[in-house]
């Protein structure tokens, strides 16, 4: 049990994920800056941001609603991200321990951050936060089915096995799932799902700085906001890692580690480029995009899998 707690808090858990996620966040910001012909932040900027919020900035609590729920929600978000990340990274790093979770558990834990943001923002009693949380929950409903269908397609590809170890092992003994037509379709849908899960443009309407002044996060400040930042860093790391594990062969030994890092960086690069080259869409457009087009792509992929393609 002690070793599992070590896994959870240190490696590959909270600490490792936070550092990796912070570095990825720097990567994202640097690329964004280069796209906009700017210099971009220094390497440690995400960590400066985090510690300034945690240690320097004061906390402002909302006068209405429920301050307790408002304060606890970010902690739940960090927990959900870390727990899901642990269940993704343990098989990815090939660490064998009795403590694991299957794909359905990962799927549910990955919704926890969104759920806690919504709960926290509704608890603040701010009308703009309410608009933001209404958009967030509608976005969750929109992409959740697509995300599940992607996972179900991977389960189908690996012969009804739904633990990540087997999924990775199947790919390593054969070809990676992305090396087929259905795999490519799944990858496209997965990238858009991640984009929405991370709340990046074009799916950033829950926070929408320009119209809602950060929407669901509007009332957060100081340490609780630092926790939200932390959860976002972790999500930026583990969601691309999940795609690498599900479709792109996972991670090998030795040089394979470098190769896996490059794969994750590649996925993040793709996300960053999408967010820098598209405008924010309306919530209705986003719902239609996932309900009709993305689901269609995944269903085509599933039909192809049924024919063994």
């Amino acid at each position: 049990m002690a070793v599992n707690i070590f896994y959870f808090f240190i490696f590959p858990g909270l600490l490792f994920m936070a550092v990796a996620g912070g570095l990825l966040s720097w990567f994202d910001r640097k690329i964004t800056a280069r796209v906009q012909f700017r210099q971009g932040p220094p390497l440690l900027q995400p960590f400066y941001d985090f510690f300034k919020l945690l240690l320097v900035k004061e906390t402002i609590l909302p006068r209405h609603g429920s301050p307790v729920v408002f304060m606890l929600a970010p902690l739940l978000a960090v927990f959900g991200a870390t727990m899901a990340g642990l269940f993704i990274l343990l098989p990815l790093f090939n660490i064998s321990t009795g403590f694991r979770g299957d794909l359905l558990v990962i799927f549910y834990l990955l919704t926890l951050p969104s759920f806690s943001y919504i709960l926290g923002s509704v608890a603040s009693g701010n009308p703009l936060a309410a608009v933001g949380s209404s958009r967030e929950i509608k976005l969750v409903i929109s992409y959740e089915l697509t995300f599940l269908l992607i996972i179900a397609a991977v389960i189908m590809k690996s012969g009804q096995h739904f633990d990540l170890d087997t999924v990775i092992a199947m790919q390593r003994s054969g070809t990676p799932f992305i090396g087929s037509v259905s795999g490519v379709l799944l990858f496209i849908a997965a990238v858009f799902c991640i984009q929405a899960k991370l709340g990046l443009v074009p799916f950033d309407m829950p926070e929408a700085e320009t119209e809602l002044s950060s929407g669901i996060y509007i009332e957060y400040s100081g340490p609780p906001y630092a926790m939200i930042k932390l959860a976002k860093y972790i999500m930026l790391f583990i969601l691309p890692a999940l795609v690498v594990a599900l479709l792109m062969n996972g991670m090998g030994q030795g040089a394979g580690i470098l190769w896996a890092v490059l794969k994750i960086l590649g996925v993040v690069l793709l996300l960053t480029l999408i967010r820098n080259t598209s405008p924010r869409v309306k919530i209705r457009q986003a719902s239609g995009f996932f309900f009709i087009w993305m689901n269609l792509i995944v269903v085509i992929a599933i039909v192809l899998i049924a024919f063994g393609l």
Binding site: T59, R63, F162, D163
Partner: protein
């Protein structure tokens, strides 16, 4: 579940069985004679009797695993007490049985009955229903009776009385609740009749009325008819599509305690109990029957939760969820595998716990504020902290947030579906459809409970809410106990609850998924505590409180975006809005449809009443000819 039951010769152990049924029924009849002025006294007496019944059910739960009590016992009893064989042949029908499944259900009937009675002591002083406690006790006794009876005729007698108590536990105080009561009575009564038909077919086919002895393959047309007829009964009781339409009307009109007792818990326990008997013991399901169950299951999940999203009245919203959750159980039983049955049973227990809990919190809010519309409420979290905490836990349980109990049972259903996908046949190859719709239903449930919790307890408080107080202890203790059970069942789901509680009723199985509920829960606790420590270390004490920031504007009293408006966007899709309009006009309500059909038919028939004598003579002659033809 199908293994032969061990007969117990020693009647002393079985005697408890009869008292469990007789005691609440007798108490109910006795209380009928006591005037309603002595409300509290009646309540306390009912609580005492139900506690005794609870003790008996614990004794039965811990008794030897399998036993049947035969008709002989009732006859023996008559001989000892009355010195005559008064029952005669009828004694053969009074057969009771007890196995893993019925023990489990009896235990939970007792737990929920006691908790809801405790809650009623304070609640039903303000919300009056005539003869509430007598009918409550009759309900308990009949529920025990229905679960314990082995003979199908005995079973349907208890089952039918439960339909009447359902009618009696709603006050016909205004037109709306009278209409709801009538609708409930007609739907339940009609379904009982159809069930009786199914039982008659079964008797014709097998010559037996004992649940233990019957096991029919659903291959012939007759067997399929019997299966479907019994299914109608179970679905109407539990509230599955398309026989669900009485549930939301009932929950909107009835007092919260009646809703918590019948549609939320006992009707689910009994309806799903009977579904379990149908699918695992009375019949052997074919692929086609599984397909029917799965289709009905997912349709129930999705349609009901979509309706719940649009409700403004929170009791009606909960009513739609009481329907939607049944879909998961039906899917579990439709899978036909041991893990599917176990998942269905576990979800049934969990649902009874959090759904009756939710109705109790709804009742508490309604009692303290006098409102039942979500938009009239808001910001009650500070005024009613215990109710808020309990309803947040129930809401997270029903939405399947890990590590609560709703997640554990849904997770079992999902892995049942994935395992089912390895099988042969149409139903198996469509496993992704069942999985996708079940998970989508879960996301929509979460959405509508954000509306429920957010709209009632969070958000900006009304000025009036400063006068609102927490409910008395006899009301919040039952809610807190249910919430704690929900947490316990979630935290120890895979280690204790499923192996010890569910597996004896369903048969042993192995999880194909990976979920260590208690260790993850430990990590939740550790993380939250660590987080709070980090907050404190980071100097959270030097906080200040400010009004909401809305981009620098002064906030007005009317500035709000109420949670009931959250899902309006979805209504704007052309296809969805057309369906909603139809649903609002009750185009999918089987009660309304059959009412229209009956009225149309009676209109046609009334045209024969012309008032012309030769016409009537002609009818009479035609009738005579037809009768003669049949007779010959």
């Amino acid at each position: 579940m199908n293994e032969p039951l061990k007969l117990i010769a020693d009647t002393s152990e079985c005697l408890y069985l009869q008292w469990l049924i007789i005691l609440p029924l007798a108490a109910g009849l006795l209380l009928m004679a006591v005037p309603d002025r002595l409300m509290l006294l009646k309540g306390l007496f009912a609580l005492a009797v139900s506690l005794v019944a609870g003790y008996l059910s614990v004794v039965i739960y811990t008794s030897s695993p399998l036993m049947t009590a035969h008709g002989d016992m009732a006859r023996q009893g008559c001989l000892t007490f009355l010195h005559s064989d008064i029952l005669g042949k009828a004694g053969d029908y009074l057969t009771l049985t007890i196995d893993g499944l019925s023990k489990l259900i009896v235990l939970f009937i007792s737990i929920l009955g006691c908790l809801i009675l405790l809650y009623s002591l304070a609640y039903n002083r303000s919300v009056r229903v005539k003869n509430y406690y007598p009918w409550f006790m009759v309900t308990l006794g009949c529920a025990y009776g229905a679960v314990l009876s082995d003979n199908l005729l005995l079973f349907i007698i208890f089952w039918g009385i439960l339909g009447i108590t359902l009618y009696k536990l709603i006050p016909g105080k205004d037109e709306e609740s009278s209409a709801a009561a009538k609708k409930t009575m007609i739907l339940i009564g009609a379904s009982d009749t159809i069930m009786l038909l199914g039982m008659a077919i079964l008797w014709k086919m097998t010559g037996s009325l004992s649940i233990d002895n019957i096991s029919v393959e659903t291959t012939s047309l007759l067997a399929v008819t019997a299966f479907l007829a019994l299914l109608v009964g179970s679905f109407t009781k539990a509230g599955a599509f398309p026989f669900h339409s009485w549930v939301p009307d009932y929950t909107q009109g009835a007092p919260a305690t009646s809703s918590a007792l019948l549609p939320a818990s006992l009707d689910k326990l009994l309806g799903i109990y009977f579904l379990a008997r149908i699918t695992t013991s009375l019949f052997v399901m074919s692929q086609g029957m599984k397909l029917i169950l799965l289709i009905i299951g997912v349709i129930t999940i999705i349609t009901a939760v979509m309706m719940a999203l649009m409700q403004h009245n929170f009791k009606r919203l909960l009513g739609y969820h009481a329907v939607s959750q049944v879909g998961y159980m039906v899917v579990g039983f439709g899978l036909g595998s041991v893990i599917g049955v176990a998942a269905g049973l576990f979800h049934m227990i969990n649902n009874a716990l959090y759904k009756s809990g939710l109705f109790l919190t709804a009742g508490a809010v309604e009692r303290q504020t006098g409102q039942s519309e979500i938009e009239e409420l808001g910001g009650l979290a500070k005024a009613m902290p215990v109710t808020f905490a309990a309803s947040l836990i129930f809401a997270m349980s029903i939405s399947g947030v890990p590590p609560f109990n709703g997640f554990a049972s849904k997770w079992m259903i999902y892995q049942g579906i994935i395992d089912f996908g390895t099988g042969e046949g149409v139903a198996s190859s469509l496993w992704i459809v069942w999985l996708g719709l079940a998970v989508l239903g879960s996301a929509l449930t979460l959405a509508s409970f954000i509306k429920f919790v957010g709209g009632i307890f969070l958000g900006r408080a009304d000025k009036a809410s400063s006068r609102i107080k927490e409910v008395p202890a006899t009301m919040w203790i039952p809610m807190a106990v249910l919430a704690l059970i929900c947490i316990f069942f979630g935290v120890f789901a895979t280690e204790i609850v499923v192996p010890r509680l569910i597996a004896p009723a369903s048969g042993t199985f192995f999880f194909s998924g990976l979920w260590s509920s208690s260790f993850v829960s430990l990590l939740v606790a550790v993380s939250i505590i660590t987080g709070v420590l980090v907050y404190l270390a980071a100097g959270i004490k030097k906080y200040r409180t400010e009004d909401s920031f809305i981009g620098g504007e002064r906030i007005q009293d009317q500035t709000a975006y109420p949670t009931v408006e959250f899902y309006k966007t979805f209504m704007e899709f052309g296809f969805v809005s057309r369906i909603y309009r139809k649903a609002e006009n009750k185009a999918f309500d089987i009660y309304n449809l059959s009412k229209e059909a009956v009225l149309w038919l009676s209109d046609r028939l009334s045209r024969a009443h012309t008032g012309v004598l030769p016409g009537y003579v002609l009818w009479i002659c035609a009738g005579l000819v037809i009768m003669l033809l049949i007779m010959i």
